[in-house]
């Protein structure tokens, strides 16, 4: 679990840099996509909830460093969303195509709502509108597919499935 956390730090740093510098150049992604969140969510689905929560915490915290909102908010809400989705995903049929998409829809909605509540606690009115929320949910639901599958193959090559003899 902790070795996974050590891998998560450089991965999340790189993803945050991509998020801040490269994604804003593409108007399609601008403001709608959260790469660290999608990676943490995918990892939680592929691995286990503890590792997913740790990835979400690290990803959220690194993103928090570069935002003007109070530090800790993204870390908390990413963790919350990943944890809730992991509970829900146990109730879903084991389908590797549908689960990531449904998880992304649920997790993004939960995360955004939790974050709006979190900001309200500090008297900040989030810049999120219903349209931007729907847009974010759709973009994340589409983009989790390549992210989930690339992580699936990376995980399979790094940690092959144990076989009982």
């Amino acid at each position: 679990m902790f070795s996974s956390a050590l891998i998560a730090i450089p991965v999340m740093v790189v993803l945050t840099i991509v998020q801040i510098v490269i994604l804003p150049r593409f108007s399609f992604f601008s403001g709608d996509l959260s790469l660290p969140f999608l990676f943490a969510l995918s990892w939680s689905l592929l691995s286990n909830v503890e590792e997913g929560v740790i990835w979400a915490f690290i990803g959220g915290l690194i993103m928090d460093i570069f935002t003007i909102a109070p530090v800790g908010g993204l870390a908390l809400t990413y963790m919350g969303a990943v944890y809730i989705v992991n509970i829900i995903s146990n109730l879903l049929p084991r389908n590797r195509f549908a689960v990531p998409v449904i998880s992304a829809v649920v997790a993004t909605t939960v995360q955004q709502l939790l974050y709006i509540l979190y900001l309200r606690l500090f008297g900040i009115l989030a810049n999120t509108t219903l349209i931007s929320l729907v847009q974010t949910v759709l973009v994340q639901a589409v983009l989790i597919i390549p992210i989930f599958w690339s992580m699936y193959f990376i995980k399979r090559s790094l940690r092959p499935r144990p076989v009982q003899i």
Binding site: I17, R25, S132
Partner: protein, 285 residues
Amino acid sequence: MNLDEAQKRVRWITLAVLVLIAILLTVLDQTDNLDAAFAFIRDPMAVALGWTSQRTDVIASALEGPRDLETARQEIDILNARIDDLERENEELREIEGEYQLLVDLFNRARQNPDYQRLTASVIGQDPNPAVRSIIIDKGSEDGIRVGMPVESARGLVGQIYRTTPNSSQVVLITDSSSAIPARLGKSRATGILRGGGLGGVLSIEWIDLKYDVEIGESVLTSGLGGRFPQDLIIGRVIEVDRREAELFQQAVVQAASDLDSLEMVFVITDFEAIDTSIFATVEP
């Protein structure tokens, strides 16, 4: 205790510890005890952001090159290597011309108000959090930038400095919902507070007295009241007026003069003469 219970316990402990750390960080951040520690992390990362930003520019221009060349190929079947070179060279020259035009605009902007001291900065990133609207620039406290300084582009006001590290700063944009700027309308001379509407929202001036007849197309400027911004900086133009006689105030929707989604270079106004508010100072009996 069986294995399943032990696993559950680890899960809960992990979650509880991480949640506590996040809450602790929030508390420390809100009490301004994290600035020094985070500046230590932000600064080297800002260098990485700047480096990546420059490389992205190179890649982006390289990607744009072939797209133009493809159009040329459709028109002329026999496109040879020399034409490729000339096209690419042309692209580079266009890029330089664009930069030159930007610098001319910035220069002209500076010439309009020679009394202000300005510092030119490049935009190296955007806030990764869609719930807030801010940008990151490549100048920081070592360059003389301080929190609260106004930031403008060649076309008009962009925002103000929210946070600094030695080599970078974060600028909260006028479109962020937390932004509130004292503004004045150019023709009717009405004053009000310009508020950001956030992502997808609109920029609007609130608290305009009903006695003013606000017109569409009027320019919106900073009023300078409060002393945080210089007077008469261009913000944008009125595009809609919401006036209801039953209410005490009216409001106007504003279109920002600057395209805040594609900022490349900005000016930080490091020194200006604020409105004299000494007449409001308490007079000793």
